[in-house]
């Protein structure tokens, strides 16, 4: 009750902010900062500023679409791991085993072909099954036995990485020069040189713009006529597309999208649909937001959380397989260092798109942005060995800044 009366008041004010701006010019900037939409995009603006500085400082060395995309391309497995931890985070859980799982499936996807000579299709099925099964075990240990998820998945991650060690005998698994080879398409898919058909991407882009046009219709100010709003929407979208073409050179981005990048975007779309548009997504979010309330509202929290671990395991397995595709071989600790950046990407999503909530596109964008921030510094002369320092700092600074902003604004 203590929060009650006043928060109704604050809640009610947001709409009037813009209106009030003109009448009270003195504090209009502060008011502007307090608007929810502005608040949640502050971090994005911050990153944009960093890139602007890079652009001025490094010029075309940084503003090279191919190099930027190549960077993201080589980090696709990490970004997918980010989505893997995201699912469990939304359900209020932790999954620290994803890096171990990715290591194991990388080693398996290459080893089962080159050492055991299994058909590749079967190998893929096995890897995915391992991912789902590992996730199921995690989920059961956490939910049915009641083990703290932090401990449970820390342990299982160790076990998975350990199995990878045992299987590989502690040395890198490399397809031999004779005998069993990885399918050509698989290794080709992993390279940046193999581009995704741009026609499909263009269609996707067009659909996305249409979707945006439709979504914006719901934001029509009450005072505006429907037709007028329609015109405004159309014009602003055309302007947006023009900017994307002229300033950001959109065609070049689309031409340079590799298969791996496209697969990541596809997985993102599937995950977004799952979490945003299905009953499951709603239930999982509720389980994470207030477990007791969810149970009393009829949500089977245990089941939803176990499913989240299974999905996380599957995504980790996919990340491992894709890592195998891009590397063509597997060292037994190949994905060990991916855990921190994966979590960093997931946590950045809470400050990039929506204020405070984990979300899919924020994770992908967040992970991408970290990669680019580090990249700029490396181009500027920082030794690549510093990337860990940069990653950690960016994560903490971004999350801390947005937290402080939210507190100040209260």
């Amino acid at each position: 009750m203590t929060t009650a009366d006043s928060s109704v008041a604050t809640g009610g004010t947001e709409r009037s902010e813009q209106a009030a701006q003109s009448t009270r010019p003195k504090s209009s900037f502060r008011r502007f900062l307090r608007a929810k939409s502005v608040e949640s995009s502050l971090t994005a603006v911050g990153f944009a500023l960093i890139f602007a500085v890079y652009a001025v400082w490094l010029g075309s060395k940084f503003l090279n679409v191919e190099a930027l995309l190549l960077n993201v391309h080589s980090n696709v497995p990490i970004l997918i791991l980010g989505l893997a931890v995201l699912v469990t985070l939304i359900g209020g859980q932790f999954d620290l085993s994803v890096a171990g799982m990715a290591t194991l499936t990388t080693v398996l996807s290459i080893g089962l072909v080159s050492k055991q000579g299994l058909p590749f299709g079967l190998v893929l099925v096995i890897c995915l099954a391992v991912g789902a099964f590992g996730g199921l075990v995690n989920g059961l240990v956490v939910e049915r036995l009641g083990v703290n998820p932090f401990i449970a998945t820390l342990g299982s991650g160790g076990v998975l990485a350990g199995i990878a060690q045992v299987y590989s005998g502690g040395t890198a698994v490399v397809p031999g020069p004779e005998g069993h080879q990885l399918p050509h398409w698989f290794t080709q898919m992993g390279t940046f040189g193999t581009k995704f058909p741009s026609a499909i991407l263009w269609v996707a882009f067009a659909l996305g713009m249409l979707g945006l046009y439709a979504t914006l219709s719901g934001l029509r100010p009450a005072s505006m006529a429907v037709n007028r709003w329609r015109v405004i929407r159309a014009v602003s979208l055309v302007v947006l597309v023009a900017i994307l073409f002229v300033v950001f050179d959109l065609p070049k981005w689309i031409e340079n999208t590799s298969w791996l990048l496209a697969i990541m975007l596809g997985i993102g779309l599937v995950m977004w649909t799952l979490l945003r548009l299905t009953t499951y997504g709603r239930y999982l979010k509720a389980s994470g937001a207030n477990r007791e309330a969810a149970t009393l509202a009829g949500v089977n929290v245990s089941r939803e959380v176990i499913k989240a671990f299974v999905i996380g395991g599957l995504l980790a397995a996919i990340a491992g397989i894709l890592l195998g595709a891009s590397q063509g071989s597997a060292a037994p600790e190949i994905a060990a260092g991916f855990l921190l950046p994966a979590f960093a990407a997931a946590f950045l999503s809470t400050v990039i798109f929506s204020a405070g909530a984990f979300n899919v596109w924020g994770t992908i964008l967040g992970g991408t942005v970290i990669v680019w921030v580090a990249q700029g510094l490396i181009i500027g002369g920082l030794p690549p060995t510093w990337s860990g320092v940069v990653n950690g700092t960016v994560l903490v600074v971004a999350v801390a800044l947005s937290t402080v902003m939210r507190r100040v604004n209260r």
């Binding site: 548009l277 009953t279 709603r282 509720a286 207030n290 309330a293 009829g298």
Partner: protein
């Protein structure tokens, strides 16, 4: 090791605390500073939440601060506590101008969530946030802390061993520990903000009596509460806030319940003529019990949680009310009936196939809603299968329309579906949780503490709503520790004292009978 004179009874109903004007408490006397609030106002954007609030409160006063949900009580308290800054006006403490009372050691705030930690001992809770007593270096002087804690507890009439974990205390006793803590810090001017609203009546009474006792000895108490009888029985003066203004500021003497309600009526509607403001208890509509329908739910000798044996029957179109003290397993009966709590023994029979049951849980903050999720998502959580369209995807349009209708029907404010649940006021949170149950379109409703922490007008609305859903043919089980709730809405009542079996038609009862039974 001083033996605790009264052991901390772990059954939360516990008689651990009594309004004890014992030797230890009677000794102390307090010098509270005076408080003056002049022309205080607060604006959020274009929204004037408080305006022109003038108050002068002298040493030893016991003031009841009342008003409907959204009247600005919490905002006023938050300004005084330094959470918000006032837009205009000034605050004088002991004649000196201050921006807030947060830094003043003579002032203490006790909020609804007491700010205590269950896992720590009583003594550790009392020291929490205060300078530790040290022996030397970082080594704590536990003996001195314990002695101080005993003294502090005695001030509020508690005689537990300070080493006991807070966990073992009943909710009312915890509230008293929170009071003891601010007194220990030197607070003489106490703001008690809804700290009794989650307590069972007899526990709340102990807390209020203790506060009254403190006021009698020179401390000043300003208590925010929705409970009329608390104000009537304890405060010497009532300040009613309505729409951000002081609507009334007068001595309590000569006021009765109706007069007190009238003080909180919106300006212009004064005179108590407003229909919704009357306690429906007064004008209880005589529902014909004969029209009750088929048997929907039968519990036979069911045990579960703290309750048992429970034997009740609920029919279509009937409101069955259960009351009792929370510690006697009252809420467990509700959870058993709804199915959230699986029975340990006994039989639960359902009258229909695929019967839907919906629950309004007893604790709104902990069990009610999903703070960071939207009003829309909160409303439809229990009825998702109704909104799933092609391809198992949630069909937004239908869901949104249903939510808009519900927001309209329950007049949830602000009426925006994308508002986060956590920023709603208490009464509106309750409405959202109600709306969730309604959208499930269940055969049986189980409503636990439906009016906890809501203002008089919302209470009347909720009563009306309960009648409405019973009239539409659903079975309604109302579980409330507030006997008046039960009396006002039920066709049949039962008293829970771990077991419940005997059900009595309400028309054969008087409210006083029911209160005696509890």
């Amino acid at each position: 090791m001083s033996e605790p004179q009264r052991s901390g009874s772990s059954e939360a109903g516990g008689g651990g605390a009594k309004p004890a004007p014992s030797a230890a408490t009677a000794a102390a006397s307090y010098e509270a500073p005076s408080l003056q609030i002049r022309n205080l106002g607060k604006r959020f954007g274009a929204n004037q939440v408080l305006s022109g609030v003038d108050l002068t409160i002298e040493r030893g006063e016991f003031v009841g601060l009342m008003g409907p949900n959204g009247a600005g009580k919490s905002t006023l308290i938050k300004i005084l506590d330094g959470v918000y800054t006032a837009s205009e006006g000034e605050i004088l403490l002991g004649g000196k101008r201050v921006s807030s009372l947060r830094r003043s050691p003579e002032v203490g705030f006790i909020h609804q969530d007491l700010g205590l930690v269950d896992d720590l001992s009583i003594s550790e809770n009392l020291r929490l946030g205060d300078k530790p007593m040290r022996r030397f270096g970082p080594i704590l002087n536990q003996q001195a802390e314990r002695k101080a804690a005993e003294k502090a507890l005695a001030r509020v009439g508690l005689y537990h061993a300070p080493t006991e974990p807070l966990l073992a205390l009943a909710p009312g006793e915890k509230t008293l520990v929170a009071v003891a803590r601010v007194l220990e810090r030197g607070a003489r001017l106490l703001f008690v903000d809804e700290a009794t609203s989650n307590l069972a009546p007899h526990e709340a009474e102990v807390v209020v009596e203790t506060l009254k006792d403190l006021a009698g000895r020179g401390a000043t108490v300003i208590m925010v509460t929705h409970k009329l009888h608390e104000t009537l029985s304890s405060a010497a003066r009532v300040v009613a806030l309505v729409d951000g203004r002081v609507n009334a500021d007068r001595p309590i003497a000569g006021l009765d319940r109706e007069a007190l309600i009238a003080l909180m009526a919106p300006v212009g509607a004064a005179g108590g003529g407003e229909e919704g403001l009357h306690r429906p208890a007064v004008e209880r509509p005589a529902r014909e019990h004969a029209t009750k329908g088929e048997l929907l739910l039968r519990l036979k000798d069911v045990y579960g949680g703290r309750a048992g044996p429970v034997s009740i029957e609920l029919h279509a179109g009937e409101v069955l009310g259960l009351t009792g003290v929370a510690a006697s397993g009252l809420h467990d009966v509700g959870l058993l009936a709804q199915g959230a709590l699986p029975p340990e023994r006994g039989v639960i029979e359902l009258g229909r196939d695929k019967m839907r049951r919906a629950l309004v849980p007893p604790f709104r903050e902990a069990q009610g809603g999903f703070g960071p999720m939207s009003v829309r998502e909160n409303l439809t959580m229990s009825s998702m299968n109704r909104w799933v369209g092609r391809g198992r995807l949630v069909a937004g349009g239908r869901e949104i329309r249903a939510c808009e209708e519900m927001v309209d029907r329950l007049s949830i404010k602000p009426p925006r579906l994308d508002e986060e649940y956590r920023v709603l006021s208490g009464g509106n949170k309750q409405k959202v949780v109600f709306g969730r149950a309604l959208l499930r379109e269940p055969d049986v409703y189980v409503l636990c503490e439906p009016t906890r922490g809501v203002d008089v007008a919302t209470r009347a609305e909720i009563y009306r709503l309960i009648r409405e859903i019973a009239d539409s043919g659903a079975g309604v089980l109302v579980v409330s520790s507030d006997a008046e709730d039960i009396f006002a809405v039920s066709d049949v009542v039962g008293v829970v004292n771990e077991s419940v079996g005997k059900l009595t038609p309400t028309k054969d009862l008087k409210l006083s009978d029911l209160e005696v039974l509890v």
